[in-house]
Each structure stands twice: as C-alpha cells, then as structure tokens.
Point group: C2
Chain length 560, copies 2
C-alpha cells in the first residue's frame, strides 16, 4: 500500500537541525513561526534535558518546497488562536515538550530496545526488565512506585510480570486521574518481514519511528512520564494527582490484572475521579478521536469428533462420516457473504438506531478510499461510510477464524481428521446479553447439526466472552479531553466507537465506578501487532502535549 | 483398541525355546508336529546360519494351554496336504526359512536400525547408508547390483538417494519377475508416543516386531533377499530370474522414479514377464489377500483471497467480505454427511456394478466389528460389509482435509484470514477420467462461488492427480500367487482392491506393459506411518515363504 506523506511540522522532526537539506519533499509551508516558538522553548531547557546529540543552528528561515498540497495539521493561525484560550500555562508546557523531543525519543528508544514479549515465557526476564526500567524512570521523576507481583503464571513455571503501580502527587485539592497502559509487546522477529530491526527504534526521514511496541503501547505509556518531565522543566504545577497502572501481560490476556484492579479499587485507586486509557488508535491518519464505545466478543468452539484417530482418506474415504464434512456444513450456516448473521435471536437484541444517532456519522473523519487503502482491496460489504461505520461500531458481526485439528500446512495431505474444532466469534453490541447470545448460538448450532443426521459427536461452547462497553461522550472526562484535542491539534475530535475489545476498560469502569475515556495517541496506519509497527513522531510529540493538556482541562472541567 | 491375540505357531515365535513358560495364553493346539517339522529343518541348517543366540532344547512336547479358541492359521492337516501337492521342492525351502528365522529377524533389525527417513534432508546420509546395506547384502547373495543415482532433489541442496537395481539369475529358459519395494521410511521419534525406540527392532512376546519400517517396507524388501538365501541354504534351484527395484524416496513422492522406470523399461527391465509389488496390507488380520485394484486421487485447492493482509475481526468484522465465509460455503456444498458427492458429472463416470461383481464381496474376510475396532468408533456410513467394501474399492469418495491460511492453533485468535486455501480430494475409480473430473469440479465450484455474489477472488485447481488402477485377477501372475498363498497359508486368498493409491503400480504397468500384482506381507493392524509400527513375526516368516512359493508357482503357471 503506498504511504501518504505525513504532514509534520519540521520542528517536530529535527529540532535544531537543518531542514532544507534533509527534509525537502516531506514538509509544508508556514513553519518559520513554528521554529521561533521552538527556539523560544529551547532557551528554557535545563542543561540535563538537552539531548546528547550535538545541536546545530541554522539561519535559513525560508519555507521548504513541498510536493504535498495538503494543509499542515497545525497552522500558525491555530497556534495563535490556542495561545489566547484558557489554560494559558500550557504554552510553557508545550514549549518544553518540543524542546525535550529528542530526549523523549531517546526514552522510547531505550524502551523499545527491551524485547518485553509477554507471550514467550523465555522472554519473561525482559518483561520484568521493562517494568524495572519504568520504575527507575518514575522514581527519577519523583513518583511513588510499587512493582506489584501477581504470582505464578497459570499453567507455566514462570512468574507473571509485575504490575507497575505509581502515584505522582497527593494533593487533596486536586482531582485524581487514573491512567492505564501496558509495557509488554507482541512477538517480533526481523525475519517476519520487518524492514528494520524490530527492537531498535528507527526514525525514518518521513517521521515514522519504527519498532515493536512504539505505538502499542510503550509510546503512550512513556507519554505520561514525558508529560510529568515537561511540566517539571517548564516549572508548571502538575494539575492533578496522577495514578498510573501499567501492566506487562496485556498482549497475553492480561492474566491476573482484573483481580488486582478489583482489589485496589478501594485502596490504591480509591481517590480516582476519572480514568484515561491510551491504548487505541485514531480512526484514520488526520483527525484525533475520543473513543466512547467498544464491541464485546463471544468466542465459540464447535468440536466434532468421530473416529478414534486420524484416518487415511484412501482407505476410509466413502465409508466413514467425516467430522470435517459436518463442520464445514455448520460453519457455512452461521453467516453469509454479506456478513448477515444467520443465527436467530442475535439481531433481536440489538439496540435500535435512533434518529439522533443517524446524524452522528456524517461528520466523522473517515472515507472509503482510506479504508480500501488500509484493506488493500475493495472487498467491503458496503460502499458507503455511514453503513460501514455502523457495521463496525454498533452492529454485531460474526467471523470464522479457522479450524483446529485439520490439515493446515502447505502442500497435500490425504488425511481424514478425526476431531476438528471450528472457531468463530461474534462481536457484540448494546443491548446484547452474553448468556442470551450463548443460548442462541447453542440452540442454532445444535439444530443444524441434528439436521445433518450425523453419527459423529458435536459440542458447541463459548471459549471466552467479553462484554461490550459504551460510555457517555458528554461526561466531563470527555468534554475536557475534547478541549485538549482542540487546543493541541486545532480541530474538534471525532467521537468514535471501536469494533474491537479492550476488556480492561470495562473492568476499570466496574471496579472504580468512574467514567473511562479512551484517548489514543497513534493513528490507524501504525500497524500494532504487525510487521513494521511504527508511531509517527508527530503523534508521539503532539500526543505528549495532548496527555498533559488533557490533565489541565480535566482538572478544571465542571463536573455535572 | 484391544489387540486380538495372534494365532501364531510357536515354532515361529521362539524356535528351540521353551514354549510353556513364556507363551502361555498366546498360542494354540496342534503344535507338536509343527515342532517336529521345525526340528527336522533345523538339522539341516548350515553352521553359519545358526543365530548367535544360544539355543535351548526342551523335552516337553505336550501342547500349551490356550485361552483363544480360534484355529491356528496352519493346521497339521493343511501342512500335510500341501506337502503332497505340486512344487514339492518347496518343502525344503520352507524348512530353511524356519531354520533361518532368527537370521532373517537379525537382518531386519539391522535394516530398522538405519533411520532412512526420506522426508528429512538431514537424514539423507542414512537413506544412502540403507541403499548401501542392501547393495552389500545382495552382493553377498550373488546378485548383480547397481546403485542408480537420480541427481539433485528438486528445490533442495541434497542428492536424491539412489535406486537399488539388482538382478539375480540370467537364465533365458526361466521367466523373469520384476519386484519393487522401498527402503526409506516415514519419520519417527520416541516422543511421538512410541512404546519402544522406533529405530530398534523390538520383538514382543506376542510376536509383534516393533520398529519404523518393519512392515513399510523393509520387511517385504528383505523378504526377497531372504527368499534367495533360503533357496541357497536348501540347495534348491531358484525358479526365476529376479529383477529388483528398491527405491529410497517412496515416502516423499517417489521423486525421480517414474523417469527411471520408463527409461529402463526396454533396458534393465526389458525381459520382465510380470511384476510383483509387496507394499500393501491384508484387509484384516487373518486372511492373506491379493490386490488387483487401487483408487486414484485427484487433490484440489480452492483458493479465496480478499484483503491484502490478515485483519482484526474487531476492527473489520461486519464491514468486509471474509474469504473464510465464502470458503466454508463452497466446502459445504461438495459432499454430504453420508459421503454422497454433490458435484454433477462424477457418479455418471463410474462403471456400473455387474451382477457378477455383486457376488464377489460375500466371501471377503472382512467384518464390520473389526472395522469398528480399527476406527475406534461406529461412525461408518453403512452398517453392512458389502456396501462398505464397495464404497472403499469401487465408488469415488470426497474428503475435505483442511484449510491453509486460517487460524489452526489451540486457543483463540480473532483473525480474519486474508487468503485461505481449502484442500479436498476425490478418490477416483473406473471409468473416471482425470480431465473430465477436473472439469466437473471447476464448473461446479465456480458456479457455487458465483451464487454467493462475493467480491473476493476464487481459484480452484488440481494440486495433483493420480489415476486409478485395476488389473485382471485372472491373469497367470495372480493365479500363481493364489496357489502360493494356498500352499503357505492353507486358505484361498481374498481378492481385494484398495481405497488408496500406489502410483508406482500404474507406472510399472504402463512402462513394461506387463501385469502387476500386489502381494502384501503385513496385516491391517501393522500401523504403517503410525506410532508403534510393527510386523508380526508370523507375517514376516510365512511371508518369506510366500514370496519364494510365489516365484515357484509363477515360474510354472500356464500363460493364457
């Protein structure tokens, strides 16, 4: 898929370096006044905060020449407008973030260099090393930190990595914001197809910072630490008490975390006023968003067994009832090519679309062309934006993921698999009930199997279930974040829901009883979990500004 | 599955050893006179042929007590009857086979100890070592041997193992019989679940000789060598010129063999009068068989692709047309639970059942209870023997083997696979045509896919095809073999077909233009390709007698 050149202010890319010579063709106009802000900020940097790389000065203030006609994401006019608005102390904070950009990238480089892969028990020491890295950085910043042990990983001979619990500030006159992130990452090997070493953060000329965990979720986690540091550098009072909960098993099912959250709800998290999670992504690449809803996920197994062991299809083909034949017949009855779920009792549970909701989709920064690009095909069910967004956010879907026990390799194998397990999941939405959905699935699958008249044995059961989540986007936690986005990015955010699930969101809501906000840092093209995962420098640096700005606005926002 | 006690004459199990003490419960009556035959034979053993294990003598000639009421496979009466029949010189040969039994087992032990796994290029030196072992044994027996190199293995950096070509006897007045076998084996590791070390032949008290390759196909290959040796020991003229073709890549697609067979058809194989292959199995465990037919196999891929890469089902579920949804719909349309192929144009090609054929199945030694036992379930399509045998031998079948590209592991993965390849095969029978069948499959699958109205891309194509084979069981090659079976085993053989494929059969038939006979040594419970592969000592030793007897009868049988 061709990459769209990013619209990044030059000072974010190479503070203090010659822009004309290295960045021609990637940047945009109107950067001279941005540079002057940057220079002013740099003047207030403490010696310890100056990145070790030698800074160069440059007198050329004429704009570079650009091939991309698009507008920059922050114009001078927006910056000037924002500087006149409320929370004027933020200006000094923003300047420090710019000035410390290299130091923040260096911190991310150190974090990416630790291969904290939670799925691989052999990498567990690296996961623990990453927890200790965070602990040490937090202590340097003056936070109180605890590494909370979770004991042995079930079914394994290694311990779970600790949860990093931290508090920065303990002022009864301030609000307390609880933030969550995770410091573990998905597996990655250069040989998977990466263009760069996955555990060496590589900053590209176009601003992509490639490395495993850059966007998911080390960038956002470090964002909170960087926000503290920039406040200290600017000499600005931190606006809230910040509680931090960073886990090391998110990419492997967050084992042990739920219990800890419920246990600490009335202890470590007791004074929480609102929760903010930065672990998802913008809907596209150009407009920031706030996320107020997630679909749930019920994952099912259909297990069919017949003979005692795999059979040779030459010897037994035509004489035995084959489990695979039954399984594909059942799987084919679940959903059609247009995504319509065939199981009675599913759509009946879905909340009706209100006329008010109808209007919500038109303004969302999302278009089909971008979707086709990120898909790499035009094989969408709907050709229009509104139907597509509704299908992703507010209607259930059913996907068939695969089959366990059948031949799955390349080439040819003439086996009759003795026992096969079909895997599918239903993404659930308001007002679907987990149990009702399970019952509908069981009833339907059993009826289809019965209609086959097979002698084989069939079992259908949920492998795991997770509830959907919807918060009120009118809550002060969201309105404060919206103001912060407008302040930093100069645009109103999209209010989005997500098709996927972040189960910890619901846990925090239930355990603390407080509003939970999803405030993403990265964009839709970051490729979390994929090869060449990246976080754009633009999203990292402006994202740090945003996290800090959010804390200022949420400290002042009237509670309804 | 419970093992049926084998009906093995005691002298075959432990020649010269005390029977009462070690074998009680496994054997049967009427063995005293068998022992006397054995003793007579032993008296003529040359010193070099006496196994190194110290023989013990025992004076107790009273029959052992047996829990199994079944008849022995050879009664005294049968032995006596056979001794009066044609080819009287066979008696001396049989006696030498019995006398040399330990030496023959030792030879098999040496062969099993060489892990000649053709699928693993790292084991290639062992495969070559096995070829050299055969060469050396054949030279000792006075055969002319060539190790024929086949060059580099395609797509690999190792050479193919050589084909062992050998000739024993070059008398224009004798018929020439070409025999085929393979000296490579399937992979095996103790950790796969073997009860014994797979590459150490372990002889169990019940006569099972466990080890990888024991039955597939080292036992039968050595059978021909042992037959030569026992003739020499008995001082009996070898009845035919024997051409041998032993390959080392059978378990990995017989790469390079077809070309060699066609090339040598008018050279090394030029004087061939008939072909005999010992590389299949009895239908059950009690009655030997001659095999005159094999089904063919057309193996198909259905490839469906949509998005450019795998997608997250949370983010994209409900908005894209999923390749898996289309694939299971197509797969479900191919065959029903009762094995009925749904593709028009398949059954139309099948030769009709003649009244004469109808009668053939009744006498076959096969029963449903044994089938249920070997299946480990009662999930057969038919409850009666005749329909089951017809479904296995003379009707086509369709099996769905699996899906490449989808999630196939344990646990849960919420992926929408971008490209999936469904694998299925059709076992073909007379008079099906490969091309006609391919066309019927393509036409049908394309029509089903079109009916889905999907935006995804679908391709269907044969991955490989292999023709069915049927020979005339009335050919002199078969009638000679039937007489040999009756002579050795005291029963008329089952005339069987097989549901599976042995492609080299058809190659030999086409290349030489001569009749090909499949003359199995092992029984249906041998577990070729499985863990705990074994060859019963009974089947090995009596099988060696059978191969020699076959050569005598085929030398004399009138050619029609």
């Amino acid at each position: 898929m061709p990459r769209t050149p990013l619209t990044i202010p030059p000072h974010l890319l190479f503070p203090g370096r010659c822009l004309d010579c290295s960045l021609r063709g990637f940047l945009f106009a109107n950067f001279s006044s941005l540079r002057s802000i940057n220079t002013a900020a740099a003047a207030r940097v403490l010696p310890s905060q100056i990145p070790t790389r030698r800074r160069t000065s440059h007198n050329n203030t004429s704009p570079a020449t650009f091939s991309n006609p698009r507008q920059p994401y922050l114009t001078d006019a927006i910056r000037a407008h924002q500087a006149r608005k409320m929370a004027p102390q933020l200006n000094g904070y923003f300047q420090q973030v710019d000035a410390l950009a290299d130091a923040f990238i260096e911190r991310l480089r150190q974090a990416v260099a630790i291969p904290s892969i939670s799925a691989d028990p052999a990498r567990r020491p690296d996961v623990v090393r990453m927890a200790k890295f965070l602990e040490s950085e937090l202590i340097k910043l003056g936070a109180q930190v605890e590494l909370r042990e979770l004991g042995r990983q079930p079914g394994s001979d290694v311990n779970l990595p600790p949860v990093v619990l931290a508090r920065y500030g303990n002022d009864k006159n301030k609000r307390t914001i609880l933030v969550y992130g995770h410091y573990d990452v998905q597996p990655a090997e250069k040989s998977d197809g990466w263009d760069t070493e996955p555990f060496e953060l590589t900053v590209m000329p176009d601003g992509r910072m490639c490395g495993r965990g850059a966007t998911d979720d080390k960038g956002p986690v470090l964002g909170w630490l960087n926000a503290i540091q920039a406040h200290q550098a600017a000499g600005i009072d931190f606006p809230v008490n910040l509680l931090m909960c960073f886990e090391g098993m998110e990419e492997y099912g967050s084992e042990g975390l739920d219990d800890l959250i419920y246990e600490e709800a009335k202890k470590f998290f007791a004074d929480t006023d609102a929760v903010c999670i930065s672990d998802n992504y913008w809907l596209g690449t150009e407009r920031p968003c706030l996320t107020y809803g997630l679909r749930g996920c019920n994952y099912y197994n259909i297990e069919i067994s017949g003979p005692g062991a795999d059979l040779h299809s030459g010897v037994f083909g035509g004489t035995v009832e084959e489990p695979m034949t039954d399984l594909v017949r059942i799987l084919s009855s679940l959903v059609d090519t247009n995504g319509k779920i065939q199981i009675p009792g599913i759509y009946e549970q879905v909340a009706p679309v209100t006329p008010e909701e109808e209007g919500l989709y038109d303004d969302i920064s999302f278009n089909m062309e971008t979707l086709y690009e990120s898909l790499g095909s035009k094989t969408t069910i709907y050709d229009d934006k509104k139907k597509t967004l509704m299908a992703r956010w507010r209607f259930p879907s059913l996907s068939i993921h695969g089959i366990e026990g059948a031949f799955s390799g390349a080439g040819a194998k003439t086996v009759i698999p003795a026992k096969v397990i079909g895997k599918f999941s239903i993404r659930t939405v308001p007002n679907m009930d987990i149990e009702k959905t399970n019952e509908a699935v069981s009833r339907y699958v059993e009826a289809v199997f019965k209609s086959l008249g097979s002698k084989n044995t069939m079992k259908v059961y949920p492998q795991h279930t997770g509830m959907w989540w919807v918060a009120s986007p009118n809550h002060w936690n969201f309105t404060a974040a919206a103001k912060a986005i407008e302040r930093v990015w100069g645009v109103k955010p999209d209010f989005t829901r997500e098709g996927g699930s972040i189960p910890v969101t619901l846990t925090f809501e239930k355990a603390t009883g407080k509003n939970v906000l999803l405030l993403p840092m990265g964009s839709s093209t970051d490729g979390a979990h994929s090869i060449n995962e990246k976080l754009d420098k633009r999203n990292y640096i402006e994202g740090i500004k945003l996290l800090g700005a959010y804390l200022h606005y949420v400290a002042e926002e009237p509670m309804e």
